[in-house]
Symmetry: C3
Subunit: 338 residues, 3 copies
Amino acid sequence: MKIKLSALAQQFELKLDGNGNDSITGVSSLDKAGQEQLSFLANTKYTSQLKESNAGVIVVTEEMKDSFAGNKLIAADPYVAFAKIASLFQHNDKPVKGIHSTSVIAKSATIEDNVCIGPMCIIGENCHVLSGTVLEARVTIGNDCVIGKNCIIKPNAVIIYGCKIGDRVIIHPGAIIGADGFGLARDVDGWIKVPQMGGVRIGNDCEIGANTTIDRGTMDDTILEDDVRLDNQIQIAHNVSIGKHTVMAGCSAVAGSAKIGKNCLIGGGVGIIGHLEVCDGVTLQSMALVTRSIKKPGSYSSVSPLQETHEWRRSAVRIKQLDKIAKRIAILEKKNRE
Amino acid sequence: MKIKLSALAQQFELKLDGNGNDSITGVSSLDKAGQEQLSFLANTKYTSQLKESNAGVIVVTEEMKDSFAGNKLIAADPYVAFAKIASLFQHNDKPVKGIHSTSVIAKSATIEDNVCIGPMCIIGENCHVLSGTVLEARVTIGNDCVIGKNCIIKPNAVIIYGCKIGDRVIIHPGAIIGADGFGLARDVDGWIKVPQMGGVRIGNDCEIGANTTIDRGTMDDTILEDDVRLDNQIQIAHNVSIGKHTVMAGCSAVAGSAKIGKNCLIGGGVGIIGHLEVCDGVTLQSMALVTRSIKKPGSYSSVSPLQETHEWRRSAVRIKQLDKIAKRIAILEKKNRE
Amino acid sequence: MKIKLSALAQQFELKLDGNGNDSITGVSSLDKAGQEQLSFLANTKYTSQLKESNAGVIVVTEEMKDSFAGNKLIAADPYVAFAKIASLFQHNDKPVKGIHSTSVIAKSATIEDNVCIGPMCIIGENCHVLSGTVLEARVTIGNDCVIGKNCIIKPNAVIIYGCKIGDRVIIHPGAIIGADGFGLARDVDGWIKVPQMGGVRIGNDCEIGANTTIDRGTMDDTILEDDVRLDNQIQIAHNVSIGKHTVMAGCSAVAGSAKIGKNCLIGGGVGIIGHLEVCDGVTLQSMALVTRSIKKPGSYSSVSPLQETHEWRRSAVRIKQLDKIAKRIAILEKKNRE
């Protein structure tokens, strides 16, 4: 596909500074883009790369535009504008309409028109898959699930019974939605499994990463509100709820019944203890462990700093002595006052 | 299903304080339960919720019973009693008897009576699947495996060759049992793979969470004793052994040849270094890293506390200076003594 | 299989100290090996176990050979020699040649001779699978992928479109290669997905662990060079590159665009922040978090030491006070100087 810069400017409501008759056939990074490719600059840290870029056009802010001699598309947020433009060029194998002959669909399931079901999918009793949704291949959906409109579900995703997925949700490969929560009661002879009878409710416009797991609730549902975005290998335990627009990076984990607010930015490998509340607008730095409720928006951290191992060993010894060290200081201070 | 309170009291050997002719049709949480639902109170922290609950009956201890005016079932451990009662009401799609036509079963495999094998399962040569076991769908079992009685194996679970699973084991979706341990020897030109020739042995009454991985041993087996309960996304490396009744929360990882005792409670995201021993009765708090053997039962922790990031930055700088700080104190103390 | 010690010595270029007519039928650990089994000693820490071993032959270094009375094979690196010898005896179900009737292969795909494709595999349009490669069962390969020679791909592995895998690569069950990178731009109303249009390129002799995820690049590729070895449940984000011979243990995670050097040894549960560089020859201890580029080879750590929880609580309080503690010391020092 080839598109003129004037057409791009019009479609995405951007100001063009350059030759509207020039055209692009794709997008690329600043250092690799050629004359028929568009790139962008969103971070002033990389402004120096602009001069050396051979891109046919660059999306920049008004403030940064003078750093590049060639064609520019001026955007308030170049990264957002780039994301929208790039979607014109993305890989897009048209899914084959209809239901592949190797898939097993329960007779009681309702599959709306314009649903594409690739090879080896399994859909259980009483499911309802709404219009425009694509199950690429090898998707498993248990009984009594509802999958909204225009969803994309990738190979090896599994949705256990009784879950409800909104519209335009993307579920990446290997994600497991609705496995049993980890509920155990200790009896005299050993553990008793606590039945997990709630479901999972996922709002519109959510994205669930590869091999991420979202457990069903014990009695009530586990809930992701609209536009929650989960990266790969995240673990969401039973009865967690996550507010709108919250984003979690890879390998984070939220324990049972924790309540995460809206517009949170949760870094990779973060842990959140069960039954806590994290208010709206909280940023958690990578690998932080949240051991108490957070009631004030802001950024939080909890990891020891990286050191060379031989130095770290000395710090580690001292961390164990910290309480004694603090008491020794108090004694010195007392003596000093005397 | 509708069941009278008198019948419940009898079946589960509980004392009824209320009207035995009242009946329930399900269970729910304290705040959502209605007149036909049972709920429970296990934690005195939530006693205040009892007064506002509309539950038809509540399972409580003798001590807490006066906090609720309605029907009560008195239990020594309300959570255990609740788990047992709830199992009467849990979602229970009867699995279809027999072997689904889309499954591929090796001729040399022995499938006992009363085994249910759903769509698209694969069972290898010389496997033995015992009576009452259910492979829900899309389960892969390699050659020479034994699966005990009354197990439930969920979609996308994979059991590689030569593994032995006990009775009443539940394997959740995407769990991988018996993948190669991570054994490498460094040769001059690069890494040589060390063949992983042991198996995995899982005892009775174990539960393996979604997307959890348990590697086969190098020469001997990786072992889970009876009633070990693993949550989602746990990694168990080659030749680990885990004692009876030990429970591990999500995203924990145990490195090669570590030996975990009985009745341990291992929190989420915990790491245990290879070749260590953790004795019986150890509790590990979330995200702790175990770098030495633990020989004394008790609770252990190792994570830096959560702080606002701007404060954390100051702490992090000081952690690196700790050894110097300690030495400066020693100097002050010396001067003070002089 | 039975093999004489003289034949072993010749095949693997080892010096035999013992009876060349004795033979072995397998390998085992030092404490379990019998007269027909070979074992090895690589770590002097376990030298005492040599005396009690009943192994028919032991692979040892020249220096350690006097600690064992029986047959010895002398190797510069006994672990490497053992790995090679053990491979003679490993479990090796011959894969069935050809393509299983339940697999779905696109007509435009090129499957070379001597490729084995087990049950329920899916191969997309324009794929090229080279000679000697085995897809054991239930492997999903999207459109436009190239899989090199003599690879082994295990059940439930998923390779999304447009990825390139080298020769002799082993992909373990549930690994996901080429899922979308986690790219989001924040627009006024919510998040916009940034199209992920790069691929994944994996070199020769790599190994990808069970349930590990390797995301495709945003515009350029995510790259693993030759002989990179990844354990289970590792997360590699978009546009990461990892140098030759680097090894990562389970549950580690590398964020977007980080660049890891050659010959690094990365422990379990390590996190590496995005856009950083880690130079060649770096060792990262378990659960370390890398928050800045590392430019000097060596070993690095960053985890608080394990303590009993009641002691840890006191340390944790003091960590938060560290900046104040340091300032109090400075005051004491100043007073002392006065």
